[in-house]
Subunit: 432 residues, 2 copies
Amino acid sequence: MQTIKYLLHDDDLPRHYLNILPLLPQALAPPLDPQTREPLDPGKMEAIFPMGLIEQEVSVQAEIPIPDEVRDVYALYRATPLIRARRLEKALGTPARIYYKNEGASPAGSHKLNTAIAQAYYNKQAGIGRLVTETGAGQWGTALSMAGTFLGLDVVVYMVRVSFDQKPYRRAVVETFGGDICASPSDKTQIGKRIRAEKPDTSGSLGMAISEAIEDAVGTPGSKYALGSVLNHVILHQTVIGLEAQKQMELAGDYPDVVIGCHGGGSNFAGIVLPFLRDKLNGRDVRFVAAEPRSCPTLTEGEFRYDFGDTGGMTPLLKMYTLGCDFVPPSIHAGGLRYHGAAPIVSHLLHHGLIEATALGQKEVFDAALTFARAEGVIPAPESAHAIRAAIVEAERAKLEGRERVILFNLSGHGHFDMAAYSRYLEGGMED
Amino acid sequence: MQTIKYLLHDDDLPRHYLNILPLLPQALAPPLDPQTREPLDPGKMEAIFPMGLIEQEVSVQAEIPIPDEVRDVYALYRATPLIRARRLEKALGTPARIYYKNEGASPAGSHKLNTAIAQAYYNKQAGIGRLVTETGAGQWGTALSMAGTFLGLDVVVYMVRVSFDQKPYRRAVVETFGGDICASPSDKTQIGKRIRAEKPDTSGSLGMAISEAIEDAVGTPGSKYALGSVLNHVILHQTVIGLEAQKQMELAGDYPDVVIGCHGGGSNFAGIVLPFLRDKLNGRDVRFVAAEPRSCPTLTEGEFRYDFGDTGGMTPLLKMYTLGCDFVPPSIHAGGLRYHGAAPIVSHLLHHGLIEATALGQKEVFDAALTFARAEGVIPAPESAHAIRAAIVEAERAKLEGRERVILFNLSGHGHFDMAAYSRYLEGGMED
């Protein structure tokens, strides 16, 4: 029997997160205070985040211990499997060896649980009893609700309206895990009411939902805000993906020529990439590709400049690739990738030529999703299917060039709550 | 960190299925030819099954090798995890140690893939290009579609109408894996047309869908029928669950006092139970509990007698607990448990006092599902939640008695495509 799964036992789970900040050749541009345009005093973030997370946001320590209580919850589902996609290789007739890390094996269905548990933990440590957040496709809202249940915090979720409507069962999932959820923009916040008055038919956006969640968190005693991507501490928590993948690639006796992730805010991409990027900074030859939707081409067509993380201008200014904080992306099915900005860490890496980005059409992405599902038996989230498509492009290039290539991609989540999009695709009604 | 997951590596996957037939103290009553009422000539089953499966149906060999090609596909997802449900134990405040085998980790979402792959394999060996089947909740139709894709066979699925309507996305799942699916009773078969003429508003039943699938298979050249439960060869394939669980319980350093599975046709229940039953026949003290819905109480209120496996009277007569082959169960949400009969093997064990059965109400089952989801982070299929409820009853009894008890149950599948039922429960509209 050919080995295709590379498992790790609980004792081999990472004990530290990897903080890439102190290892970067050039320093990351700091967030700015929107009033003064001066580097933000980290203490000012305490209105929305607990100090444990703020410290991680600006830490210069390369390895940050994972608390035992967090590791205990990780053990429910980590290490996620690393799979050699032999059936996909065969279907493509490629000489490439394709591996994927299956974060869809998380009980929340995606990688988002990795940071949700850590954020719930540090908020609980700070005495917080209620977390408020936004969600695009619903993966993040699901993950934070689950983490809240595990650690004993209430969770409130503002879900981008178009996704809320496209995915009727996400609400039931979040509620099954005990979270409260509503469509955004809503009537529960001032900013939500203002947006609805100005644009009554808006489909919503992550930027709007972030503004609502922050307003709610700041205005409700005992509450903090939780963000599912973009910020340094979120990406820090996601490095468990790449750290595990490194050990698992060792078990497989292989090393990737290229590491691929889909890109919305940047957390799953950076999560799998950063541990391998550390190798690259130490001289290893390895490429990194961020796959984003052509309809929201932040990395490939955005400007690299300071901008707000939300629509309402409530966040600090972040130096990042951006389409402008007022940009409302089309209602594509990969709702988790509909974000005007990009993580400052990912933006910095792209700006300095350490990673590449590619923009993909919705149709080719769903073609790739079907090819993958039929070969490997896993229905990917539409977001994750961007990574699959980019991996297939690499594999086809290897075939054309007639040479081996080792491809590793992150399957950030499963698509079990995205079947309305698959129905549409199967009926031939998918827009490109 | 406390260990909670017990994993097996590919090399430790079972190499044989366990055939319980030659180990039973009393012989199983044979299927009868409905015309002659004499024991059925196995050769007569060749109209609907390939010889490889018929041989397994009547084999007297206790260990039957798993073909390499089947093991290669199993390796995509097996061994499934055995989990110590420490968080559930804590939530219940029980001294019991609770373990569950998570068959929901299969890419098809349930244990059904175990037999689907084997059945597709033996049909392919026999030169069959098209498999026809029925599905209740949709788990079996999904699994057979996936197996068909993996092994290169076309798959046609007749889905019980009430489930087809309750679960709009099951269709998309089956189609994503390349299967054809329609609601049953349909207009595609004579029996389907006849039932629709007699009962235009029928919600359908597994018995009706089986009749349609058999008619289609028998009438279409190059086709065979595939059954997802009940028969000996199906149960044979499911013993990989219990065989793995035995090795994993050894890793955990524990042995169950009671093994629990939900019961519809009997395959997931028998799959986890039979390897432990072999131990019981060798003198080990262990109990077995089959959990069925109170609205379809085959084992607890049915008669033990010969009956047809389907509504149309097309199958051989099977000696089993039955509510009568014309019984149409109420439209409960655990559609996979809506079957008038029970596997002859399970019926035989119950009749001879080797196992117990319990009937549970829908409301208490969904209460258990929510308790489990919030404790363990896994949303169970409504079918599997019957096993959870029965496990909780055992755990609460252990608490009352103030003593330890080791409980093992099979989580036969996840509930990701059952969120409409969860929505209803969360809104307070669940019927008992």
